[in-house]
């Protein structure tokens, strides 16, 4: 070789290629099928992994550098927040219910995504998608950890956070999110990518994160704002990955279209049900509101989602099958869900409450066709009972949907006075559903969904045997501290007392 080699000028794309996909090779001591065994059983046909377009180009040295800068900033702010009693900047401690739900139900989903992406980051036989998925795998453990760390200080002062790890596995409402992520991970690698990479990260994530982070900012929660902002550039990468995956699969073979369409239908509806929690947070749990769930849906669902599906129409993709039913549910779901949470609040590790008159006026303004007609009367009735000292509690067991695991509190798409309820008999057993969407998902894969762990039947098994106190112990719920109405709670009393100390000269 010459002493002075004239170096070729490599473009960014070629250079990245040498740093990633050129590292791979065709195995010869084992067959490809043996090393990548899960590539065929879902029926997806990939002819040429080289056609994969890298959604972003980031070598590890650059990754470490950028991420470390973000980490430094994040922990500096979190530390200051903890030191200066930043929690007393909250508009009101009732806001924390939203965070408690987040830590119990959503942060575990970040961890699940971490493991799921590690699995697909191994299983795809193409270096390009492998590296992109692995980077998401490591990002997702970052999200789980920054969230736990951001909320750790709230746990020191407020109830409801302390048992998030126990409640992730045992309490009834977290199984909505848990079953969602378990469902995606137990699916094959391609479906996982459509479920989490595309449907969740691309279609639904804005509906979760934008309202959540603006809600945090409006309500003085700097800890949450900080982890939200810090995750933003990661999310941008995840979204481009999700979009590349779906385009790549569809471009590889026309036979992939019906399979992908079916997954989009399924995961849109699965995701939409999980977002029921977000609707309630936006309309009810923020002391100072950002926008209504309806307004968020119009922007991030209708506008953004509409543009996306228009773009995908050239591949033959149609908007998800449950789209119209979703639209019909928007003006009802947050109210139906909050009413449900209130009546079962003895069994939740967060507080709920009866909205004030001012809150109800706000809701009436945002939901002119539904709130005064259907929901104000019910809240008024509940308020009357509470004022009379006989608060409304539903000790009857919620009937949970076999698919999404939400209690059946939702109404028929075309009749808001009638609770929606579907049933399927499979192998002699009866299964219940909250909607056509969930019934349809079950009927496509009954052998999967009959395995679902349903938290309600657990109540009657060992060690609980129908005893509410035993159940509370089992889910690490402290009665009178973590649960019930916010009015009169320890969180309320403490927050007001501490804030009084900090803002007056007592």
């Amino acid at each position: 070789m010459d002493m002075k080699v004239a170096k070729k000028k490599l473009g960014l794309k070629d250079k990245y290629k040498l740093m990633t996909r050129d590292l791979g090779w065709e195995p010869s001591y084992h067959s490809k099928d043996e090393l990548y065994p899960y590539m065929n059983y879902e029926g997806i046909k990939i002819h040429d992994w080289d056609k994969w377009e890298d959604p972003f180009r980031l070598t590890m040295d650059a990754y470490w550098k950028y991420q470390a800068e973000k980490e430094r900033k994040f922990y500096a702010i979190i530390d200051a927040h903890a030191q200066n009693n930043g929690h007393l900047n909250l508009t009101d401690a009732r806001y924390l219910s939203a965070l408690k739900i987040f830590l119990q139900a959503i942060s575990p989903g970040e961890y699940a995504a971490h493991r799921g992406f590690a699995r697909v980051g191994r299983e795809f036989p193409g270096v390009g998608p492998q590296v992109a998925c692995q980077m998401q795998a490591i990002d997702e453990i970052r999200h789980a950890q920054t969230q736990i760390h951001a909320m750790s200080n709230y746990n020191r002062y407020y109830n409801g956070f302390h048992a998030f790890a126990d409640q992730r596995d045992r309490i009834w409402y977290t199984s909505v999110a848990r079953s969602f992520f378990d469902d995606s991970m137990s699916a094959g690698p391609f479906e996982f990518m459509i479920a989490i990479g595309f449907s969740f990260e691309y279609v639904l994530t804005n509906l979760l994160f934008v309202p959540f982070m603006s809600g945090a900012a409006y309500n003085g929660d700097m800890a949450t704002v900080t982890f939200g902002f810090s995750a933003q550039s990661d999310e941008a990468r995840h979204m481009t990955l999700g979009l590349e995956v779906i385009k790549f699969i569809l471009e590889q073979d026309p036979d992939n279209l019906p399979i992908v369409q079916n997954w989009i239908d399924k995961w849109f509806w699965r995701g939409f049900r999980v977002l029921g929690l977000v609707s309630t947070m936006m309309d009810y749990m923020l002391p100072k509101r950002v926008m209504s769930w309806r307004e968020a849906w119009d922007i991030y669902g209708v506008e953004n989602g509409g543009a996306l599906f228009k773009d995908l129409a050239r591949y033959g993709i149609k908007p998800p099958r449950g789209w119209d039913d979703a639209e019909k549910a928007i003006d009802h779901m947050s109210h139906q869900f909050m009413l449900g949470l209130y009546q079962w609040s003895f069994g939740t590790a967060f507080h709920s409450w009866i909205p004030s008159d001012a809150d109800m006026d706000w809701l009436a303004g945002k939901y002119p066709h539904t709130f005064d007609k259907y929901y104000r009367p019910r809240w008024k009735h509940i308020k009357k009972l509470a004022d009379a000292g006989t608060p409304f509690k539903n000790y009857g067991l919620a009937r949970l949907c076999q698919t999404c695991q939400l209690p059946s509190v939702f109404t028929e798409p075309d009749d808001p006075t009638l609770t929606c309820h579907r049933e399927t008999v499979y192998k002699g057993e009866k299964y219940q559903f909250c909607s056509d969407g969930c019934q349809h998902i079950f009927e496509n894969e009954p052998e999967k969904y009959i395995q679902a762990w349903l938290p309600m039947p657990q109540l009657f098994q060992d060690p609980i045997n129908g005893d509410l106190g035993e159940w509370m112990k089992w889910v690490s719920l402290l009665d009178g501290k973590d649960n019930g109405d916010y009015a009169g709670s320890e969180d309320q009393k403490n927050f007001e007392a501490w804030r009084g100390l900090a803002t007056t000269n007592q």
């Binding site: 080699v5 195995p27 590890m60 040295d61 590690a118 492998q130 692995q134 020191r156 126990d166």
Partner: protein, 330 residues
Amino acid sequence: MQIDLRTVAIQPQRQAFDHLVRRFGDKAASRYQEGSYDIQAAENLHYRPTWDPDHQLYDASLTRIVMADWYALKDPRQFYYSTYTLTRARQQETAEANFSFVESRGLADMLSDELRAVALNVLVPLRHAAWGANQNNTTVCGYGYGAIFTQPCMYHAMDNLGIAQYLSRLGLLLGDTEALDAGKKAWLDDASWQPLRRYVEDCLACRDPFELFVAQNLALDGLLYPLVYERIVDQHLSAQGASAVAMLTQFMSDWFDETRKWVDAVIKVAAAESDANRAVLTEWTRQWSARAASAMVPVVELALGSGADEAVGEQLEAFRARVLKTGITL
């Protein structure tokens, strides 16, 4: 909203999350503890994987190693995402400085043809081995049990990728794209590389996450890194005036020194758990390290010629002494 708060001392209601209080007592928890212990779902997993219906979504029985508590496999570095990235960011700064030092002074051009050839022949094909290591550690992260064990494997996998990329840059710097092409050809066809490639492909076929951890991180890397980066690069090449190469591989040397402490800690705790574990670990370590040693001989020959056998033999002795400290007698 930012209100003016007087600094007040208020009494915390509790020190830490319940699951950490149960493990470590009623005291404040570290960020490593908060970000690692019990964060993998453990109960009431909803559905069995459609790709492996005989197992649970997270299933400790995927490996022959049995632990009463998988969270005993603590990482002595206590790496969680933040401490991991901050550490690597510092190291990549050094690596970057080293690369630009070598480039800006034209040190690469001053290498003799012979030494340059040795460096390229030995180091460039290893970028493929590092990519194999990346996939193997990704497997362990994906299918291993318990966040405390799987988390560092993801970091390790990304490190393996970073190393593959540093080796690619080294190849480009010393021999341009032709060097990468030649290295890949050697990896695929040259007799010297076939035992190692077979070893890596056999690892890729292994689906016991703990066995894979032993085969890749303990047995193979435990021989490959000291042989290649200490003996060949730092000693053999540097002694002949090619210390520029050592600057380009400093990351790998530092990385091996750091990560072996974690690997040893994991093996030590798993072996101490039971005689059965110790027996399985001994069997795996014996088999895989014997194979790794013979796979390394023709690779080391590329640099040390007839001295390869002796070098590998000595390294195997050192390896025996190392694993003895973790409770494994070979």
